[in-house]
């Protein structure tokens, strides 16, 4: 094949790159899967394409349909790209406090942005989208948090790619957002080698949860329980903004220009490597650094950037 039918043919099949220079243990190798190489710039291209194709197969989507989706950014951007190619309209419910680049990319692909309160983080975007959907049932609500096509994209794509490229994998580390990557890849890898350990990396909830009125406003994505997340995850660890940014900068120093959540994930992989005697850790870089230039990660004083990151949604 000398050329692709359209840009969507380029989704998936991302490269795995050795970053063992960051391993604190000479007997542990670390490999990073660069999801920023997807055409829309993030791991969410897989999820967006899978959800739309699944809805098309089930006859839910007619030409010119309008999609509605809550997203802290990457899923919105990916859905916007897929919608442009396939001729759908898209409305994205997004927290106010995401980086400016995310907003601009949605404009580039012609999506409409509906802002949710920044203090409520992604939970607030989910709540607002549910409310809007109740008033506009004609809009198609793919809802990445409950849509099985989300983890299935990883069960059928990301997981098999990792297994093909690195059957020696002993530990899988990824960020926890919708949980789609972790439960999809984790389920696949454990089916092929039950000894594989799955580690989730979380951003600190910090100020993002100050908008919650009670603990009952908490949220667990339905796909997490539907796919047996409690059984798939072996460990869940929090990585703070400073550590995330420090590792994001170290990645750039070794030639990998990745987003802030990739720094968190790498910090988690390093923590994992410290805790085991030997093994091969595969860690997911969800996106590249482009959408975070305005946050000053690579150019400004780290104290200033950390303060900014505390009030920003970067997962």
């Amino acid at each position: 094949m000398a050329y692709c039918r359209n840009i969507l043919d380029l989704v998936g099949n991302t490269p795995l790159v050795e970053v063992s220079e960051f391993s604190p243990n000479p007997d542990v190798r670390i490999l990073m899967k660069l999801e920023g190489q997807n055409p829309g710039g993030s791991v969410k291209d897989r999820v967006a394409l899978a959800m739309v194709e699944d809805a098309e197969k089930s006859g839910l989507l007619e030409k010119g349909a309008t999609l509605l989706e809550p997203s802290s950014g990457n899923t919105g951007i990916a859905l916007a790209m897929v919608s442009k190619v396939k001729g759908y309209r898209l409305k994205v419910v997004m927290p106010q406090n995401v980086s400016e680049e995310r907003r601009q990319m949605l404009f580039a692909f012609g999506a409409e942005i509906i802002e949710s309160p920044g203090s409520e983080g992604s939970n607030g975007a989910v709540r607002m989208a549910e409310k809007i959907h109740a008033e506009h049932e004609e809009w198609i609500f793919l809802y990445q948090y409950a849509n099985h096509a989300n983890p299935m994209a990883h069960y059928e794509g990301t997981g098999p790619e990792i297994w093909r490229d690195c059957p020696d994998v002993t530990h899988f580390v990824a960020g926890l957002g919708t949980s789609g990557t972790l439960v999809g890849v984790g389920k696949f890898l454990k089916e092929h080698n039950p000894a594989v350990q799955v580690w989730a990396v979380e951003p600190p909830a910090g100020e993002m949860v100050d908008g919650l009125r009670s603990l009952d406003d908490g949220y667990i994505p339905p796909i997490f329980n539907d796919f047996g997340g409690m059984q798939i995850l072996d460990r869940k660890t929090v990585i703070g903004p400073r550590e995330s940014i420090e590792w994001t900068k170290r990645l750039a120093e070794s030639g990998i220009f990745a987003g802030i959540s990739s720094g968190s994930a790498l910090a988690g992989a390093v923590r994992c490597a410290e805790s085991i005697e030997s093994g091969v850790v595969v860690v997911v870089s969800a996106d590249a650094g482009w959408k975070y230039l305005s946050t000053g990660v690579w150019t400004e004083d780290i104290d200033v950037v950390v303060e900014r990151a505390r009030t920003m949604v970067y997962f």
Partner: protein, 91 residues
């Protein structure tokens, strides 16, 4: 030695507005129980009546979610910190 417990803003109202409190015990469960004895307003909010963690509450020992350690039986050492946070999503 008492262990430091960090509270989310929504629980501080039950702890005289404090963002950190202390509790004694050798496991996370014992320490949380000690805390609830001191601040009865938190009764049932973190650990439910059946003795399990509230489904929308994550409790961390240092940086690790105790659900993937030994849950409320996770043992605690001097200098450890417990953090209580509501479950949130990303994406």
């Amino acid at each position: 030695m008492p262990v430091e417990i960090r509270l989310p803003s929504i629980l501080r109202v039950h702890a005289d507005g404090k963002s950190t409190v202390e509790g004694n015990g050798s496991t996370v469960g014992e320490i949380l129980e000690d805390m609830v004895n001191a601040y009865p307003g938190m009764d049932g909010q973190i650990v439910t009546a059946d003795g399990s963690l509230h489904k929308f509450v994550n409790v961390y020992l240092n940086d690790d979610d105790i659900r993937y350690l030994s849950n409320l039986d996770t043992s605690v050492s001097d200098g450890d910190t417990i953090s209580i946070l509501p479950a949130v999503a990303g994406g």
